[in-house]
Subunit: 680 residues, 2 copies
Amino acid sequence: MALPVLLLLLLVADGLRAAERSGGSSSSAMEELATEKEAEESHRQDSVSLLTFILLLTLTILTIWLFKHRRVRFLHETGLAMIYGLIVGVILRYGTPSTSGHDKPFGCSQDRPFTTLLVNVSGKFFEYTLKGEISPGKIHNVEQNDMLRKVTFDPEVFFNILLPPIIFHAGYSLKKRHFFRNLGSILAYAFLGTAVSCFIIGNLMYGVVKLMKLVGQLSDKFYYTDCLLFGAIISATDPVTVLAIFNELHADVDLYALLFGESVLNDAVAIVLSSSIVAYQPTGENTHAFDAAAFFKSVGIFLGIFSGSFMMGAVTGVVTALVTKFTKLHCFPLLETALFFLMSWSTFLLAEACGFTGVVAVLFCGITQAHYTYNNLSVESRSRTKQLFEVLHFLAENFIFSYMGLALFTFQKHIFSPIFIIGAFIAIFLGRAAHIYPLSFLLNLGRRHKISWNFQHMMMFSGLRGAMAFALAIRDTATYSHQMMFSTTLLIVFFTVWIVGGGTTPMLSWLNIRVGVDPDQDPPPTNDSFQVLQGDGPDSESRNRTKQESAWLFRLWYSFDHNYLKPILTHSGPPLTTTLPSWCGLIARCLTSPQVYDNQEQLREEDSDFILNDGDLTVTYGDTTITANGSSGPHTATTSLDGRRTKSSSEEALERDLGGTDHEVTSRGTRLVFPLEDNA
Amino acid sequence: MALPVLLLLLLVADGLRAAERSGGSSSSAMEELATEKEAEESHRQDSVSLLTFILLLTLTILTIWLFKHRRVRFLHETGLAMIYGLIVGVILRYGTPSTSGHDKPFGCSQDRPFTTLLVNVSGKFFEYTLKGEISPGKIHNVEQNDMLRKVTFDPEVFFNILLPPIIFHAGYSLKKRHFFRNLGSILAYAFLGTAVSCFIIGNLMYGVVKLMKLVGQLSDKFYYTDCLLFGAIISATDPVTVLAIFNELHADVDLYALLFGESVLNDAVAIVLSSSIVAYQPTGENTHAFDAAAFFKSVGIFLGIFSGSFMMGAVTGVVTALVTKFTKLHCFPLLETALFFLMSWSTFLLAEACGFTGVVAVLFCGITQAHYTYNNLSVESRSRTKQLFEVLHFLAENFIFSYMGLALFTFQKHIFSPIFIIGAFIAIFLGRAAHIYPLSFLLNLGRRHKISWNFQHMMMFSGLRGAMAFALAIRDTATYSHQMMFSTTLLIVFFTVWIVGGGTTPMLSWLNIRVGVDPDQDPPPTNDSFQVLQGDGPDSESRNRTKQESAWLFRLWYSFDHNYLKPILTHSGPPLTTTLPSWCGLIARCLTSPQVYDNQEQLREEDSDFILNDGDLTVTYGDTTITANGSSGPHTATTSLDGRRTKSSSEEALERDLGGTDHEVTSRGTRLVFPLEDNA
């Protein structure tokens, strides 16, 4: 996935080249030749600058192999990528001769910049597009550091090209089972936790800024909203290093689920949070002061954007599922894969087009695709899609990290302020602490399977910052405050990725967290957060109200998902004829795919995420429906009866028998158990 | 692979957006808000315009499925893509409201346009980059057709993003066996043929242009070089449609090989040809007239660029092979795939950086990768890389074709001249005829397995133009003549893809060309172009000198490849200890991978491209070396002896025995036969 970026760079350059040519080709032959020449030159430079990136990635890959081969764990591949990036950055900064394009300042008296300029050069019109503002002091840099500018490309690249595949892959390769088992806690950490740490960090940093003002270290404006933005930016953890090591060592699956789930979701939260803080626009002359109305407005924006993006992702996922189910596309894996790819990609664009956050949409799209569409894909497409996104994810991630290393030297607006940096480190530490420990305490009230102290310490420790923080920070580096924030974020990312990443293995052993666990093995029933429905009839009247809510919601959701969504969207699940009320038996039979009747086996696998293997904990399908939504008990009975009746009315007695047996199989085959986060 | 382009579009837009924001953020809050708003707006527009592309591709995919499902053959997927493109183009052209960014013509008295403008807007400096010239008449279009401009992106995209994966895939998925069997003819068709048709078409078109001048249809300059360029552009055939149908029907393998090989190579030839025609710069005031010196110069350029690109591709392929052989990278398929991908991509950049043609380099890189690296990859990576490039190829191709459809309406500088178009159609027909029939006649003098009349007619018929012609034509549409050439090329592509693509199946049956052939089955030995070496000792003194050359070259090449390159670069091939002269036995043992001794089986498969299956046609390994390069007969003998001796000197008697037996196995195991294009 580094490819598009490289391509992009190449292209930006080529646009230029093409432009120059088309500009030149209308002038005389000699000039044309000259233009050609220098176009060639610039083109060559671009290719070279891209080659450096590729070289970087290639080097990284080879070293990663070496490390994996030698089982080196103190430095993760991402850390490596950054180091190589640093080295190349230094070389580019101090090694390359400064080439200068023939640029020239222009006078003009306007209030706001134009998107496009049409310049009349001796009768010919040339079109120019706005590239951005340069502070007057930097003009000479613009003229000189041509190479540097070439390798420091548009920050939006990270959002529009590199992050989507990473995030989509995260959603697509989600270990549903352990994720859903801890969903409550994960949501708590991701939403409350991130918000908490955002505000704590924001306020602490505001204090730091005030201090800097006193000391006279602050040479330009730094508003409270900027501090909050910094809080939002830096609250996005991505323990990619830690999780990689967890995977290698097979560390505790629940801890893995907690960390992974939190990091994936709080990326999303952080994006939306930061964009709604940017949208926070107090009215009146006294801007950047606190304003309740504006505050609630931006909270509203937060909720709106988040739910909107969520819906967007879910919808496109569902559409893909329907298409893949009702067309026989799976006979042509190539087409299938291409479609899957395009649909997933379009999610991003759709969201952006509707003003939501593409990255968030892509995340939930990935989850939906994995949950529904995946079941409809042909075996080949399954592996294809997985591998495709795996490769994209890998390349994108390593590219981002090596680019970070590069940025430390090639980015031309760094502002390193010792106080701010030290303050930031303290702030993120406190923020993380204030986020993990209290929340875990609260959650432990509700959780049967407590989050033990060593788990909490581990989560505290592995709150390292990565790609997302960087992408958020680089997104807008126009003002003084944003530049300072960017530089600080960069340092924090370096520090956490190297130190924390390196310290994971010792930390694990020091906190004696069990490793070498088979992820598919079930933890002993005692410390298990799942529950049979009949069993927790009384429990459901536990005091923890909100928890109770969620539990109830989950129950409803799962039964709905299993009885209606899965059968409608995939070839798995129980036949709709048995789950839908009698009066829509026709639609039911239309929507139910014939495969359903004979792939109960597959169903069992697919669903195993929600099913416990020990027999005593399972209930038969019928009961479940009954317990799921109270009134539907007799309902189901009649349904099945009607199902039979309608059948018999339309088909032969033989088929009725078959139908009957099928239905028997179904009732026996499908087993469903609901997860409850909370029964003390 | 449409992805990068989409991304790119998104990005170009986002650059703008970011720029606008960074421009705005330094002005007051209200303005900032305003800028934000319109940035959002433009961003939304971009996303929408990208969505149209994705929609196009998705539609195409679904319809392709429907067609495949219903076995519809009269319209190929590429034709489909174009139709959808056309429809959307019409909608965009006449359906969308014309939105206008606030552009403004600027006065300035300079001779040549700047690459970059720095505009001083009330103290702030904004940077603008040159986008290209607009003829004064079009200024209002620039202001109005915002949406249209958004969907008609930089032509270089085709060269730098879309073509490489297509071409690489062509090289990587090359059916080596039938390709190499017909290599002589293929090279003849690709090089001579393309050159011939280029010049014939060029001259005919010059006649047409003269005619237009007489009739007064020509409103601007149209030089002889332009005509030649047109010839080069339009000589690039890509019978993708035909070959797809051949694949489906399992048409004759040799015909397939001829058509495929020709199209792949003549794409490369056409690129280099056109760029060397562009480079053709007669000295003195009388430009664009014929100038022998300049002519030979550009011929030199042609040869230089072509061989350079070839070398570049081969070298990177070899490097990848070495890396994958000597590192144990195949334990980590993901890393392996990523590396493979990056190396293949870097070929393109390397070539561009060195001033060669990236696309050509990528083609030969693909062939090398398939021939050597492929053997070193882990099973997973093999399927991964294949599938990855298959998907990229598929997306890129369909994107190009749907874009062609779009371009017919969204491209804003069309010049349709009836005379020129009709002339062009006649010219390409004659050019194709003058290319196929005479060459086939000449080749048939040399070929034992004649190219029959119906084959020649089929080749004549399938000379349709596609992606490459379009990409070459759109590359430079600055001048009047180039615009006319572009419009004409577009129409030719439409016509040939639809009519010829649709007519393939009837044509096949009409020419009664055998279909339903198993590609791996051997044609009867009588009409076979392979030969055992001993057999053609006398034949090699055939009169056809040049042919003889090539045959001799092939023999040399194959023995070299088989005895030295394969063992050095891959885990297959005979152990070097047996092939290299005694004095470098040590290096031989270092370079030979231990696997070699025990994967003779694999070797046999790998090599089966050059091996006939009927036993009587095979020679043992020893003999081959002898016959390959005369003097080395005794040589090999000694080698093997020395091989034993050095072994015994260094190892145990037991091992010697093993080595002995191993070596026996080798001598028996490996069988080699050389293809000869020519023995009457």
